[in-house]
């Protein structure tokens, strides 16, 4: 009974406190508090909530807090403020390198190449770990793009093995591949890149990059008719990678060039299992027919070409449907959302998503930087709208609740007295029980109950003041809520207008992409038809030679 009463008083007390709650702001006190806020800001930034990071770093004096704030500012479109913070950090103690790298990013987005270079050089000198490697990679890229391949190579040579140096060597290999008649320099650069990517701590990223490097090396070797080398590179491409279909096609090509048509066709058969959107798959369909032809199975070659023909025709129908859907539903719905809502179960997602035609087109589409930007814009605006739609609903409910509470604001102050009497009575009973309690456990329980009652009494002491100011406080709250609601509605209408524009841009890019894919299919179709015509022509000539009608 005693416990029940205590709980009742505690509940009533907390409700009263909640009703009359006055503003208390969290602030960063001491080192531990700053660390907590800094950690919260970091998590908010990493999980895609820069607004929360801004909130946590508002009064944070530490350099880590300033860096997180600058990153959050950059993410929320306040580049100028971010720049000021980063300039301060550049003269600070701990984050000079990271600040310089972020300043380079800002300068790049504003089209200031001189500043980009200056900040990257500073970052390369002052930063550590990944930030330094990234700065060096970007410096190497600046040299490479200016045609100074040797200087780019020197910068890359000063880098630690890992993802960034692997990327740098891959790009240099592409330049050598374009310029040199002999592939040896490009192949050496690709081999170095492969060795560098082994040291990447992110294993998934490393595997993906390795696949791309192997494809490039295989293609280069095949182009220069070193088929055995090409085969040895392409055999190492993992089967579950994004580059697998292209790898299988090139593997077949190298095998076929070295005279092993049977093995080549096995690779092409495997490539054919992937959607036609991926590079190499359409050619693998054509290759199968060609392989039968070269092996002397003309009937099967004809069948393979006819199958390829049917497949390309059906793909063109799929592309036309996709274009219609983009026109009717918009590219964001047709390509992004519908691909996301595919029925692939999460535990099968890794193996199945690569074989879904719509996902394949989405992935290929998203390889273009323009498409990435266009989709990002729509996704961001959609997120803002969803977030503020919820907030608008909450604020509406909240405003109604404040109005209702204002109507019934005439609660009697006697309630406080009543609670005081109750607390006094309970304290008296605890004292009586204390005299009778013999065991340590009971005494401890009674001490705890007495402490809670003392807390409640203290809170109740503040209640009178709070109740007196309640009407004014609620009115102030109502004004603030109404203002916030107006601002939320304003933001939503701006977001909607911008989203329409962003979707229009995305639709244009997506339709151009689908049209390009349709041309690609039409070209492949044309090639199969030519092959079929050649085959029939050859058969007809043979029949004539044999004297058959």
């Amino acid at each position: 009974m005693m416990a029940l009463r205590l709980r009742l008083v505690a509940c009533i007390g907390s409700m009263v406190l909640a009703l009359a709650g006055m503003p208390v702001h969290a602030n960063a006190e001491g080192d531990a508090g700053s660390q907590l806020l800094g950690g919260l800001a970091k998590f908010a930034l990493d999980s895609g909530d820069p607004a929360a990071a801004l909130r946590y770093t508002r009064n944070l004096p530490t350099e880590a807090g300033q860096l997180a704030r600058a990153r959050a500012m950059m993410a929320t479109g306040s580049g100028n403020v971010a720049r000021e913070l980063l300039e301060q950090l550049l003269t600070g103690q701990y984050y000079r390198g990271q600040a310089a790298l972020l300043l380079a990013e800002l300068a790049d987005s504003r089209g200031e190449p001189e500043n980009v270079r200056k900040y990257l050089e500073t970052a390369a000198k002052l930063a550590n770990g990944d930030a330094r490697q990234q700065a060096l990679y970007r410096l190497a890229e600046i040299h490479r793009e200016a045609g100074e391949t040797d200087r780019a190579g020197q910068v890359l040579a000063s880098m630690e093995p890992g993802y960034w140096s692997a990327l740098g060597y891959m790009n240099i290999a592409a330049d050598y591949g374009k310029r040199d008649l002999n592939p040896s320099r490009a192949l050496v650069a690709l081999r170095v890149a492969l060795a560098m990517s082994e040291k990447d701590s992110d294993s998934r990223r490393s595997d993906e990059l390795k696949s791309r490097l192997l494809i490039r090396a295989g293609h280069l070797a095949h182009k220069h008719e070193d088929h055995d080398k090409a085969i040895s590179f392409l055999e190492k491409v993992p089967l579950e990678s994004y580059s697998t279909p292209q790898g299988l096609y090139l593997h077949g090509l190298a095998l076929s060039a070295s005279g092993n048509h049977r093995a080549a066709m096995q690779s092409w058969h495997r490539a054919k299992k992937y959607p036609l959107a991926y590079p190499g798959v359409a050619n693998a369909w054509l290759g199968t027919g060609r392989g039968y032809d070269l092996s002397g199975y003309l009937g099967q070659a004809g069948e393979a070409y006819l199958a390829a023909n049917a497949s390309f025709e059906s793909e063109r129908v799929t592309l036309r449907k996709l274009a219609d859907q983009i026109r009717s539903k918009g590219a964001y719905q047709a390509l992004v959302r519908d691909a996301r809502d595919s029925n692939a179960e999460w535990f099968l997602a890794d193996s199945r998503t690569l074989t879904q035609p719509r996902t394949a087109y989405l992935l290929r589409f998203m390889e273009q930087p323009d498409a990435q930007n266009a989709v990002k814009r729509v996704a961001e605006l959609e997120q803002i709208d969803q977030q503020f739609a919820q907030r608008e609903d909450s604020l509406e409910v909240f405003r109604r609740a404040i109005r209702e509470r204002l109507e019934s604001a005439k609660t009697s102050a006697a309630a406080g007295n009543h609670f005081n009497e109750e607390i006094e009575a309970l304290s008296g009973r605890i004292n009586t029980l204390n005299e009778r309690a013999t065991s340590v456990a009971r005494q401890e329980a009674l001490r705890g109950a007495a402490l809670t009652l003392a807390d409640l009494k203290m809170s109740l002491g503040k209640l009178e003041r709070r109740l007196a100011a309640r009407g004014q406080y609620l009115n102030e709250l109502l004004t603030r809520t109404s203002e916030a609601l107006e601002r939320v509605r304003g933001i939503r209408s701006r977001a909607l207008r911008l989203r329409n524009d962003a979707e229009k841009t995305l639709d244009e890019i997506a339709l151009a992409y689908v049209e390009e894919q349709d041309h690609r299919m039409a070209f492949a179709l044309d090639r199969t038809e030519q092959q079929i015509a050649h085959l029939y022509e050859y058969l007809a000539l043979q029949n004539i030679e044999r004297g058959e009608p």
Binding site: M22, L36, R55, I384, D455, V488
Partner: protein
């Protein structure tokens, strides 16, 4: 003849004019084509600038709304917040955390790769914020994770605490050390 001559004169006069007109038209067409070609990029830039401005306003409004919510929904005297940090950053791959207050489920979280990596790099997650009356309470956390020695673990830990006036912050720190990588959760209370 005179007419012809007159026509020739007109022809002489109009030829440069025509040529100039032609040049003007060509320039206008070139300008139009240039503008038409650069229009999508320019439009995208304007759109990006406007989106940036909107994002800045969104961040500003989010602060206001957050303050309003904190003030009204979680008054300081009854506020309780629970945070999660990792101590040993390589010992565990956190999958889920469920939180119970006095046996009532109040929060659960399924971790993404990005969140896991953020926690490993010193990020702090606010798992729960709510209200509790003064007095004693029990916090229970159930976590599932993969340990560095490839074991799947599910552990439940409890922590008794007293809610007193003022904000209460409880920090849960997760540790899993070699060689057995057994998860250990410690609690720290902040005022």
């Amino acid at each position: 003849m005179r007419m012809i001559a007159g026509a020739q004169v007109i022809a002489q006069v109009t030829e440069p004019v025509r040529r100039r007109f032609g040049v003007t038209v060509a320039a206008a067409v070139a300008l139009f084509v240039t503008q038409a070609l650069s229009a999508p990029a320019g439009f995208a830039d304007t759109l990006d600038t406007e989106i940036d401005r909107l994002k800045a306003d969104v961040a500003d409004l989010s602060q206001t709304l957050y303050e309003l919510e904190e003030e009204v929904l979680y008054p300081a005297d009854t506020q309780v917040a629970v945070f999660l940090t990792l101590k040993d950053r390589e010992g565990l791959e956190l999958d889920t955390v469920e939180l119970y207050l006095d046996d009532t489920p109040v929060a659960s979280h399924l971790y993404t790769e990005r969140e896991r990596s953020s926690l490993k790099r010193g990020g702090v997650q606010r798992l729960y914020i709510g209200n509790l009356p003064h007095g004693t309470h029990q916090l229970k956390a159930v976590l599932t994770a993969r340990s560095a020695n490839e074991r799947f673990v599910r552990r439940a830990v409890t922590h008794d605490f007293r809610k007193r006036p003022g904000e209460s912050r409880i920090q849960m720190t997760l540790d899993a050390r070699a060689p057995d990588f057994e998860p250990v959760v410690s609690f720290q209370e902040w005022k």
